[in-house]
């Protein structure tokens, strides 16, 4: 023992310094490599996360459940006032429900009249949230479904109501959802009813910013913000949220999805929007021309072809 220690004492200084330099150089190299070739390192990261986090799942689920239980328990103390609030909300809800039912019936009638078929290829996979980003500077969650379940990068993720984010990074048993509030998230959107196009860009706050708006004057708070199919990543028409104006006068989106407590998420299978490539031939009565996917109306504006087709979906 004593001998060993004496020996390490002799070598220790230079060896340790060398080791330190080597380790630092390796870490720096990894960082620079990430900066240059981010996708490959991110794939490696997804693999590491895929190995580690699902192993923690057995402990994470009960702990999360317990903490949420404790939080709910705390709110019991405000039970009376909460009851009051709920009652008044319920009254409002009933009014809305009435309106919604009428609208639903009307919608069904109109759909029937138009003989519309909603996209049958738009199905979803449900995943459970296993972990979050773990850092206050990134907004993402980890789901318990991965390439094993056929998840593909870029697919849209929703909770029951609104868009939550998109798949960004898949492992075998896990996939990461980049939330719309993350600073790296930018989504092409259209604001209804004015039809203004804009980008919804996350900035690490609860309400993403509306950017690159064509005409601000046409947009009012409480307008609906839905996705366009532009960029061919998302299907069109998914609800993102409603427009709000913050204190400094910027327009933001208040997400419809409840981002504070994400539990079960739907991942929409998306097989890409079809683009119209040819301008369309002459419609002659007898010649056996192959039928176009749309009808004549779409061939009138060939220059807006892809967008028009995306808007239909």
């Amino acid at each position: 023992m004593a001998k060993e220690r004496a020996q390490t004492h002799d070598y220790a200084g230079p060896l340790r310094r060398l080791l330190l330099i080597v380790v630092c150089a390796m870490l720096l190299a990894l960082f620079l490599f990430w900066r240059i070739d981010s996708p490959r390192v991110e794939q490696f990261r997804a693999k590491v996360v895929d190995r580690i986090v699902p192993n923690m799942d057995w402990a994470m689920t009960p702990v999360t459940g317990l903490v949420n239980l404790a939080r709910d328990f705390k709110s019991y103390r405000r039970l009376a006032e909460q009851n009051q609030e709920l009652r008044s909300e319920l009254r409002q809800m009933q009014a809305w429900k009435e309106a919604a039912l009428q609208l639903e019936q009307e919608n069904a009638r109109l759909l029937d009249l138009n003989n519309v078929r909603l996209d049958p290829r738009l199905t979803f996979i449900t995943g459970v949230v296993m972990a979050d980003a773990g850092s206050p500077f990134r907004q993402s969650v980890l789901l318990n479904v991965g390439t094993r379940d056929g998840i593909v990068d870029g697919w849209a993720t929703m909770d029951g109501i609104g868009l939550v984010g998109r798949i960004s990074g898949t492992g075998r048993n896990s996939s990461r959802v980049l939330l719309i509030t993350d600073a790296a998230s930018v989504i092409p959107a259209i604001i209804q009813p004015s039809g203004q196009k804009a980008l919804v860009a996350g900035d690490n706050t609860a309400a993403p910013v509306i950017d690159f708006l064509e005409n601000r004057d046409l947009v009012r708070p409480n307008d609906r913000v839905v996705t366009t199919g532009d960029g061919k990543v998302f299907p069109a028409g998914l609800l993102i949220g409603h427009v709000v104006e913050d204190r400094s006068g910027n327009l933001r989106v208040r997400p419809s999805a409840d981002l504070s407590r994400l539990e079960y998420l739907r991942i929409l299978r998306h097989h890409g929007t079809e683009a119209i490539t040819d301008p369309g031939g002459v419609v002659a009565p007898e010649a056996p021309v192959a039928p176009l996917p749309g009808d004549g109306a779409e061939t009138d504006a060939p220059e807006t072809g892809p967008q028009a087709s995306a808007g239909d979906g």
């Binding site: 340790r16 310094r17 870490l27 990894l30 960082f31 900066r35 990261r45 206050p136």
Partner: protein, 179 residues
Amino acid sequence: MEPISPGRIWSRRAIYVCVALVILFTQLLPLDTAPRGWAAPDMLLCVTLAWSIRWPRYVPMLLVAGVALIADLLLQRPPGLMALLVVIASEYLKNHATGPNQAGLTVEWITVSLVMGAIFLAYRLVLGILGIGQAQVSLMLTQIVGTMLVYPLVAVLSRLALGAPAPIGGDPDGRGGRA
């Protein structure tokens, strides 16, 4: 005080890894997925620096590097940068700083706070130079200040858990080479 048995050292190293995993675990719990206006203190950094200055032999450089790299990968940070800064800071504290045996807790606290400030500044600077998007300054500031404030607590708690720190003069490796 000098001869610390290898078994004791390795058990403490294992404890370090466990503490790090528990911290990462709690950070990954999906309790609050909405963005907040403040950031919790970086406990892993705090524990690593406290142990580096007080029990340098329990946190060898390779272990610190490994843990920090795993944290980088799990927490969606740019991989390697924070790990590099933490390793450098930890080695600096092991070799140069005045530990609790030579000065009081206050001096130690100030030293560690300065080192933490340097880490965060360097981190932002490098990310800024390389044009990598980063979080708001206010969010990072709350984290730095929180980490600095929570340091004495971590130091006292680790002292309760690990016993008195080994005297730095009796530390057989490291000091001679660097100074």
